[in-house]
């Protein structure tokens, strides 16, 4: 678990409503209002997608929505920037292979 529960400057992590998202079919507890990338980093997910030609792993890089390294297929929509997209109850997130496919991800 990579969440920072206690912080010397920011204080204790406040309790918040939890939402249930699905990552490659597995249910994951996320904090309401957080970005997808944060929820995935909290679970220790190693990579978010693989590139089309060489199937190389990719994760976050810029972290603020500019580089698109962190994209995944979300609710059937490919190339969603997980570092700037908030989680929602029931969201289906899939590790994306290549450019992704509308309506399907790597686990299609």
């Amino acid at each position: 678990m990579n969440r920072i529960f206690e912080h010397p400057i920011l204080g204790p992590l406040e309790d918040t409503e939890l939402v249930r998202i699905f990552v490659d079919g597995e249910p994951v507890e996320a904090r309401k209002g957080e970005v997808i990338a944060a929820a995935l980093i909290a679970t220790g997910k190693q990579y978010f997608r693989k590139t089309i030609k060489l199937q190389e792993p990719r994760g976050i890089y810029c972290g603020i929505g500019r580089c698109t390294d962190c994209v995944m297929t979300v609710n059937g929509v490919p190339n969603v920037r997980t570092c700037v997209t908030e989680v929602e109850e029931g969201m289906v997130i899939e590790t994306q292979l290549g450019y992704g496919k509308w309506g399907r991800g790597i686990n299609s």
Partner: protein, 363 residues
Amino acid sequence: MMDREIVVIGAGPAGLSAALEAARAGAEVLLVDENHKPGGQLFKQIHKFFGSKDHQAGVRGIDIGVQLLEEAKELKIDVWLNAEVCGIFNQNEVWIVRDKERSVTVRAERIILATGATENAVNFPGWTLPGVMGAGAAQTMINIHRVLPGQKVLMIGSGNVGVIVSYQLLQAGADVKAVVEAAPRLGGYGVHTAKVRRAGVPFYTSHTVLEARGKDHVESAVIGRIDERWKPIPGTEIELEVDTICIAAGLTPLVELAFAAGCRPVFSPVLGGMVPVHDAAMRTSLPSLYVAGDISGVEEASTAMEEGRMAGLSAARSLGHIDDATYRIRYEAVENRLLALRSGLFGQKRRDAKEQIVSQSQG
């Protein structure tokens, strides 16, 4: 098409300060930001700022951010979040896409661009591995999202961003294994490097990262010494067991909108690259367009706020909201605070660079 007196693009420290100053002067302001929360990089700055009392020295960036947002609320400034400015036409038409679905054009009498800067990348074998990220990305994850992107970190770059983020990673519970700096001397303030060194983190000057290794994620990094010509010296390689490599190799102003709108550029290597030419009142070569903050040259949050005030003030005055005498007084107050921030060992270089840009605006 809607009409607004002043549109401020970017709600970071510069944009917020510009909007507040213009609103206080009586102008009708619309503040626009592409993110779902305002504040830019300010809410990631959990350390205490330098300067004097006038500059809010000793106050943490996050608390300054909260103050600015409260003031914006009190002044009832119109703020559009999730609003991406995609173009500026005819020097006064701002094309905005709201919530990724609605296109709106706002005709503005004055525009203040406060879009900030973006992190530079450094390429090396393995740099695409998950775990390699900008130092700012790590800072965003730990201070905004409260998650640790890794446990064992290699920091590349010893400028203020590199050393401040290293310290913040330690505070977040990570272990910073080393800070590498390609130059023979460390770049950041001595008090920042001293804090990090005191925590036992080694600094390697004249070193660079040679490779990131790992299968699905970073598992180790190889660093090595470089000579006076920046070439790696064989036999000096050290492999460090890390799961995260942060790149703090400087920032580049985000100038696309300014140049697309037609602002004249000037190259300023000290301040990060191509920036819009502007005068001391922060006005660009286009009379209705102003800039403030990192877009006009990479400095720090304190100078961004002062430049924001300057731009807001100047834009409001150009619309007749402030008389010349009042403007003179406020202008001088901001100018003095900027001069104070741009002094000393580190500040003087920035002051000279800014003066060069301003001198271009008189050409």
